[in-house]
């Protein structure tokens, strides 16, 4: 057993038992971050804050929400929106944060791709991040079912139908997922469980993994510079803060994070109070009606690009393309064959690849919402084929990349 002495203070008492000073050093004051970064490096903190907003607002909503097909809609739109003091506020914060969190996730992801932050020991950061993207997607989808509006019901119908996998006709699997032939009470109950318990647990676990994956390779910097963290840390600790290439996580980096969070929150609350329509779809304010299919069924904006990879093709091919789109980002660290972990602007063909991918995904997003008619379906088809082609050519263009 370890040796304990009479504590001189509460801190000392804790220190003997939990090494809090050491933990504080490892996690904060001597967790070294490169100085050469821009505000895009604060997106992780923005995401953490947005997740906290989702969690807190979700806890308040949980106190009044009723997961029953007869009362779910009214418990949200009457009880929470009208009867409960500030219930409307929690719902708006929750709905808007659920949409905005994806905007920040996409910015975070494209930052990683642009600066090559998935290479040279950072593969696990990328993979845990993509797993977070998948679980956030499931969390968003399951949450969308809960108000039991028209779009909840019909999106639930369409998305669970995907699991019949076209000509494989796995109708039994679809019924197993729904717990019924069509979305009903069993469906609503299990998506409520997924949304309020299992998926948040998975997300919190994955956030832990994501942070842990970051600790040893450290974050990248905006010039892809190789930094000897030990040497630079010594320089910092000896007092040459200005000359050192690294800074402490806390308070140095955190003060910048908080500044970005502050600006983000102005934007976020503007959306919550004055511009929420994009996140709280009007169609979902009609109660679920199994006998009335809405004229247009579309997912929330953050799923549109992958929806549009499914849609322009015949069922079986569409499903294969859709499956491809779901997993391909995960493989990025291996599909990119170049050892250069530098910004895309210095990587020749990869730079073109990056901007084309971004433009293509925005095009897919737009076409995924527009009615699949005339020119829109043609553009959608071309954009979907381009998306697949981009990933096929990636290993070839990066293999011949010159050393940057």
């Amino acid at each position: 057993m370890a040796h304990f002495t009479k504590a001189t203070s509460v801190k000392d008492w804790l220190n003997q038992r939990m090494a809090i000073e050491k933990v504080e050093k490892v996690m904060a004051s001597e967790y070294w971050i490169p100085k050469n970064i821009n505000f895009l490096w604060a997106m992780g903190m923005v995401l953490a804050i947005t997740f906290a907003l989702l969690l807190v607002s979700g806890i308040f909503l949980l106190m009044y929400y009723q997961p029953h097909v007869n009362t779910a809609f009214d418990s949200v739109n009457f009880t929470i929106m009208r009867e409960v003091d500030y219930g409307w506020l929690w719902r708006h914060v929750h709905g808007v944060a659920a949409s905005v969190v994806f905007l920040v996730i996409y910015i975070h992801m494209f930052t990683g791709i642009y600066y090559g932050s998935y290479k040279k020991g950072r593969e696990m950061i990328w993979i845990s991040g993509m797993l977070l993207f998948v679980t956030f997607s499931a969390e968003a989808f399951s949450g969308y079912m809960l108000p039991w509006g028209q779009m909840s019901y019909w999106a639930g119908m369409v998305i669970t139908n995907i699991f019949s996998l076209g000509d494989l006709h796995l109708d039994g699997l679809v019924e197993w997922i729904r717990g019924d032939y069509v979305p009903g009470q069993a469906f609503l109950n299990r998506f409520f469980m997924l949304h309020a318990l299992l998926l948040p647990l998975a997300i919190m676990g994955l956030i832990g993994l994501h942070f842990a994956a970051l600790r040893i390779p450290h974050v990248n910097n905006q010039d892809g510079e190789e930094i000897d963290f030990d040497v630079e840390a010594k320089k910092y600790l000896s007092g040459d803060k200005a000359g050192s290439k690294v800074i402490r996580f806390a308070n140095d980096f955190m003060s910048k994070d908080l500044m970005v969070v502050g600006i983000f929150l102005i934007f976020f609350f503007y959306l919550v109070f004055f511009h929420y329509g994009f996140a709280l779809d009007p169609v979902n304010f009609d109660p679920a009606d199994p006998l009335k299919t809405p004229a247009h069924i579309y997912p929330e904006w953050y799923f549109l690009w992958s929806y549009e990879i499914l849609r322009p093709f015949s069922v079986n091919i569409g499903l294969v393309a859709f499956g491809f789109a779901q997993v391909i980002f995960m493989l990025l660290p291996w599909l990119d064959r170049s050892p250069n972990a530098v910004p895309a602007s210095r990587r020749g063909a990869f730079s073109v690849w990056f901007w084309v991918l971004l433009a293509d995904m925005i095009t897919l997003t737009a076409m995924g919402k527009l009615p699949p008619e005339g020119i829109f379906s043609t553009i959608g088809l071309v954009a979907a084929l381009l998306f697949i082609a981009l990933w096929v050519v990636l290993p070839f263009i990066t293999k011949n990349e010159k050393k940057a």
Binding site: Y86, S255, I263, I266, F269, P282, V283, T365, A366, K369
Partner: protein
């Protein structure tokens, strides 16, 4: 080294706004039919050329024109001949009380309605007299004098007993124009009136049964039970509601919903009633919103100052 942050910010904001514009304003402009407002001018209806005589109008409404055979005028102590459920059984829908009709409905509309209901209501596709499909409200063919003068008199009478148009409340406008077909359960409104709070469950259930009976008649009459409008202010938008009220056929050709002929002002009140139901806390949202934004700005300023202080030694 050059500071790249402003450029990066411009790029991030530009791509975000582009995506937003594509999936919201642009996509919705392509998905929904656009109907322009005609400002409730009812240009298809003839103007009233005669000056109405209130006294003569009263005689016609309560006498020769036989309006009060079906319509109550509560303000003049003229009760309905039947209760709402029985009336709906007879006519399909309970005929409206005429107390405030003169304030809620457009005068041109009322005049045309009296002469030819199916025409004014734009339901001639459903009620074609030539095919024997009679509208439950009989056309007024005149009481012996000049038809246009008599109609103008009746309209003048209805306007004389109604409140001033400025005194029409949102609830009054909704109940008159919409409330006999549409329920708004979040406001406790049913097609036969506001549901009172009953002490005994038996009484509550009795009331519910009456509503169900009424709804059965209404469903037979309309083809489908008209929807509950509790959340329509949020599931549709103001422009949609306004143009739909003005002329349902413009949005949904062939619909059984009649044009109700409300004035622009009354339509505005109806929408306010729907907003109170579906977006009850909108005023609180604006005021709380301003305070939160002010807080967020102050927070951001302090965060900026703290960052500057911490980074002073790092540069």
């Amino acid at each position: 080294m050059k500071n790249k942050e402003p450029l990066i910010l411009v790029i991030v904001v530009a791509f975000t706004l582009l995506t937003y514009w594509l999936v919201e304003p642009y996509a919705h402009s392509q998905m929904h039919k656009h109907v322009d407002s005609q400002n409730f001018a009812y240009a298809d209806l003839p103007a009233i050329t005669k000056t109405g005589n209130v006294e003569n109008g009263k005689l016609l409404v309560t006498g020769a024109a036989a309006c009060t055979g079906c319509h109550s005028i509560a303000k003049e102590n003229l009760p309905a001949g039947m209760d709402a459920v029985t009336a709906a059984g007879a006519y399909g829908v309970n005929p409206p009380d005429l107390s405030e009709a003169g304030a809620v409905y457009d005068a041109k509309f009322l005049a045309d309605l009296i002469k030819n209901p199916a025409h004014a209501l734009k339901v001639e596709h459903k009620f074609d007299a030539a095919k024997g499909q009679m509208h439950p409200m009989a056309s007024f063919a005149g009481a012996g004098g000049d038809l246009d003068q008599e109609v103008a008199d009746m309209v003048a009478y209805m306007q004389s007993i109604a409140v001033k148009p400025s005194e029409v409340t949102p609830k009054m406008a909704f109940e008159n124009a919409c409330g006999r077909c549409h329920a708004v359960k979040y406001e406790k409104w049913t097609q036969i009136g506001e549901k009172p709070s009953f002490k005994l469950e038996k009484d509550s259930l009795t009331f519910d049964v009456k509503v169900l009976e009424y709804q059965e008649h209404l469903t037979k009459y309309m083809g489908k039970l008209p929807p509950d409008l509790s959340m329509y202010y949020r599931s549709r938008n103001e422009h949609f509601l306004s143009t739909f009220i003005e002329n349902p056929q413009a949005h949904l050709e062939g619909t059984a919903m009649p044009r109700v002929g409300v004035t622009a002002d009354a339509a505005h009140k109806v929408i306010e009633y729907l907003a109170d139901s579906a977006d009850t806390k909108r005023h609180e949202r604006s005021s709380v919103g301003m305070n939160v934004i002010i807080f967020a700005v102050v927070f951001a300023i302090f965060a900026l100052l703290w960052k500057k202080q911490v980074w002073r030694d790092l540069h």
